[in-house]
């Protein structure tokens, strides 16, 4: 099972980024093999609009079945739900910490967007 996390860096010890759509990077962690890859999200970081939708699209295409991030807006949440990606909100300090909490079942699945959408 692959879990995607938002981050500012490229390592497990780097901070968990609270923003989803405009997160600088996505770290995709494979819980079965304990390996990970990092995707750059610069394109959406600087997008005029639709960053959440496009980021959700990226997460869905990479084959992640869960997303751990700080906050998720309504449009991104709708895309993630349609793609069957479960969203978990976490205020963990680092990516590693968030993965540990997730493994221990300590993160709650988010049932709806928890922040307002941005006007175009």
């Amino acid at each position: 099972m692959k879990v995607a996390l938002t981050t500012t860096g490229s390592n497990l010890s780097d901070p968990l980024e609270p923003r989803f759509g405009r997160a600088p990077k996505f770290l995709v962690y494979d819980l079965d093999s304990d390996t990970f890859m990092v995707l750059d999200n610069n394109k959406n970081l600087n997008a005029v609009q639709g960053a959440g939708i496009q980021s959700a699209d990226t997460i869905a295409r990479i084959g992640a079945s869960a997303l751990i991030t700080g906050h998720c807006g309504p449009k991104a949440f709708r895309v993630l739900s349609a793609a069957g990606v479960k969203v978990y909100a976490s205020s963990a300090r680092t990516v590693e910490e968030a993965i540990d909490l997730f493994r221990q079942g300590k993160l709650n699945e988010t049932q709806s967007a928890d922040v307002e959408g941005h006007w175009v």
């Binding site: 609009q49 639709g50 939708i53 699209d57 449009k75 709708r78 895309v79 349609a82 175009v120």
Partner: protein, 280 residues
């Protein structure tokens, strides 16, 4: 002939100038309120609305039985208004610019369009003025299609004064891009100059001839005048920072009506931009 009144900074007096120029004109004139998110020219004119039209933008509708989830629509959409991953696409009407591209690239012809309401256009008359005003619906964020609907109502044979929205982004560009002349209203302050310089860059990028009107003359300093001198920009007029103007404004009255001594100032601007006014 279209004369657009723009500013960069909000609250510099675009509507005040537009309304007073329209009232001071001595020939039939069309006043276009393109500030569709906050149209307010009507407050000073008390017009009788003779025609209201609902404006829609086309948004995609997907025929689920015909869609095979190929995702072509989502790949072509620059605004992420439609997304698909091997399933029936999701549509985000608020992101859609109504270009129809998704419908064209769909290999299965599964996409058609339906109208998505964004606002209304009101046409009214007051004396020699025809007011054409756009009013966007609450919750709609995309002004340019409504601005284009306002502009589509104008008659080419009657001069136009176009009251543009503030700022320098899409709604302003949609408003002024085909203007024959642009008047940039500013105030002689640091904020005024900052936003004026952005508006000047925008107007130059659109290759529109333009000049400046300085409002609230007497506050601030001479930085706007220095900027205009250095850049070779003509100042058409200066409107003084006069408390009587603010009082008239607060009562919904025009300057030319409340303080007749100012009529000459607006006539002089009209003469400079080629609209017939009373002789001075």
């Amino acid at each position: 002939m279209i004369i657009a009144i723009a500013s960069g900074k909000g609250g510099t007096g675009k509507t005040t100038l537009s309304v007073n120029l329209a009232l001071a004109a001595h020939e039939p004139i069309q006043l276009l309120d393109c500030d569709v998110e906050a149209p307010n020219a009507h407050l000073f004119l008390n017009p009788f609305v003779i025609e209201s039209t609902v404006v829609h933008v086309p948004i995609p509708v997907v025929d689920e039985s015909a869609c095979d989830g190929c995702g072509e629509c989502g790949r072509m959409c620059e605004y992420h208004a439609i997304v698909s991953f091997g399933s029936v696409p999701l549509v985000f009407p608020e992101m859609c610019h109504g270009c129809g591209g998704c419908m064209r690239v769909c290999p299965r012809h599964a996409i058609s369009e339906k109208g998505h309401r964004i606002g209304e256009v009101h046409v009214s008359t007051v004396g020699h003025i025809t007011l054409i005003e756009g009013k966007i619906d609450v919750g709609i964020a995309m002004a340019p299609p409504l601005i284009r609907a306002v502009k589509s109502r104008l008659s080419a044979s009657v001069p136009v004064l176009l009251d543009a929205p503030p700022g320098t982004s899409c709604p302003v560009i949609a408003s002024i891009r085909d203007a024959d002349f642009v008047i940039l209203v500013t105030e002689p302050t640091a904020f005024g100059l900052h936003d004026l310089s952005l508006a000047v860059d925008m107007t130059r990028a659109l290759h529109r001839p333009f000049a400046v009107v300085v409002n609230r003359m007497g506050i601030g300093d001479d930085r706007v005048h220095r900027f205009c001198r250095e850049e070779g920009i003509r100042i058409l007029a200066e409107i003084p920072d006069d408390r009587r103007i603010a009082e008239a404004y607060s009562e919904g009255r025009s300057i030319v009506d409340a303080i007749p001594a100012y009529r000459g100032l607006f006539h002089s601007i009209l003469n400079q931009i080629g609209i017939v006014s009373l002789s001075l």
